[in-house]
Amino acid sequence: MTETAIQVDGLRKSYGQLEAVRGVSFAVSRGEVFGLLGPNGAGKTTTVEILEGYRERSGGEVTVLGFDPASRDRELRSRVGIVLQSSGFYPRATVREAVAHFGAAYPRPRDPQETIALVGLEGKEDTRAGQLSGGQQRRLDLALALVGDPELIFLDEPTTGFDPAARRAAWEVIRSLRGLGKTILLTTHYLDEAQALSDRVAIVKDGLIVAEGPPSELSSRRSSYLVSYQDNGHRVELETEDPTELLHRLTGEALARGSRLEGLSVSRPTLEDVYLELTAQHEGEAE
């Protein structure tokens, strides 16, 4: 039986009149990478900040590594690493000093130099945090979250503002953490990131989870296939639940005419298609 790292049941959070989270439930197993996906303002960060112990919930039950995060237990904080959406550094402390300083608060810290190497900041040890580039600061963020050697890591939009190469590098770090058996809760609004890294994703929209499952299953849940081809310079796109029959008919007609189906392709919906469909649907319902 897999152990549960995070259990969320009917979580609610209101700010005055506004209900930012309206009854969210999900569970994350140990060793799993779980992605919370959704547009800005969907309630992802509010949910994660409740799990991190930064905010108090208005309703529902939450357990993180067996603790209620609202109790702000020191043991829980020593087993969790947090990458916040916005970085917080002492601008005049060097990379090495910052990593060593924050590491000292943990019972079993990782070696600072090893942590710096893990996130790819070798050669920047003596650079002050204020002089690092945006992407390097994000890596320092990750180093400060990892220096305590946590079991559970929260990553709130860890690659926002990265160039493609830096994103790939960050993905490799996250995959290697998964390889070490760490549990990771990732929030992102990049679909490819969620698809590439997560064992399971939940799509959040307007404070509710609108879909949940492994990225591949989520994409295949939508039953239709997209068949497209060129006809006299026009692109024809057909959706079908049974591509076998449709293709048989199309190719049969083409052969009978003695023409060809130029640029014929059959594609499965990607997570992006599912995401756009689901989030659009809910916008429609709200109106």
């Binding site: 112990g53 930064y54 904080r77 916005s86 924050f102 000292a104 608060a105 943990y106």
Partner: protein
Amino acid sequence: MSTAVLTWRQFRFERKLFWRNPSAAFFNFTLPFLFLILIASVFGADRKELNTLIPGIAGMSVLGTTFTALAYTFVFNREQGILKRIRGTPMPPLAYFGGVIASAVANAAVQVTLIVVIGHVFYDVSWPQDYLELVVFVVLGVIAFGSLGIAFANAIPNFDAAAAYVNAVFLPVIFISGVFYSTDSMPRLLKAIAVALPLKHVIDGLSGAIVTGTGIGGHLTALAVVAGWAVAGLFLTVRYFRWD
């Protein structure tokens, strides 16, 4: 690591970073002396005026190194997200506050010492008459001003506004509290305000310690007022502290 060790580490870390900002460190240390030298020479201060000025500048130093410095530090660290980051780690808040405040105390102690030494060496003001009273008023002043500074940081919206907020308190307070001249000849209303605030009482206590040697017994009211502000400052800090 224990809270005590982490407090010490935080203190060491704060000291290191303090000296990495040389211009701030320089002004922090020289401003009181600049005031002292300028006022003493421009007004050709006599013995009686110097006996007012030295404890006054010492009191201003305690205010500047604690109230002003901690208000800036906490607004900056809140805006930078440093406070939020610390809150997400197992660092005990007590160790963090302890280290930061100890760093401010170190600055206050160094400045008061330098002012007493400069006063004696260059202006022929006597060595302190009552060291116990000196320490008691510096320590109580640090607690009152320091906690009021951290509490005040909660009211300051962002770092850009911090200088305006802090100076709106710091400047009027030093002018009415007898830093540069005796409060005896001030208008009654200003005097009443000064008497209600803690700085005048810290200066009275320092004056007793350095100049007159009347002893703590002669300044029990001053002690009570400063202690009252210390309690108020600690309450406001704990009650309204904002981590982000």
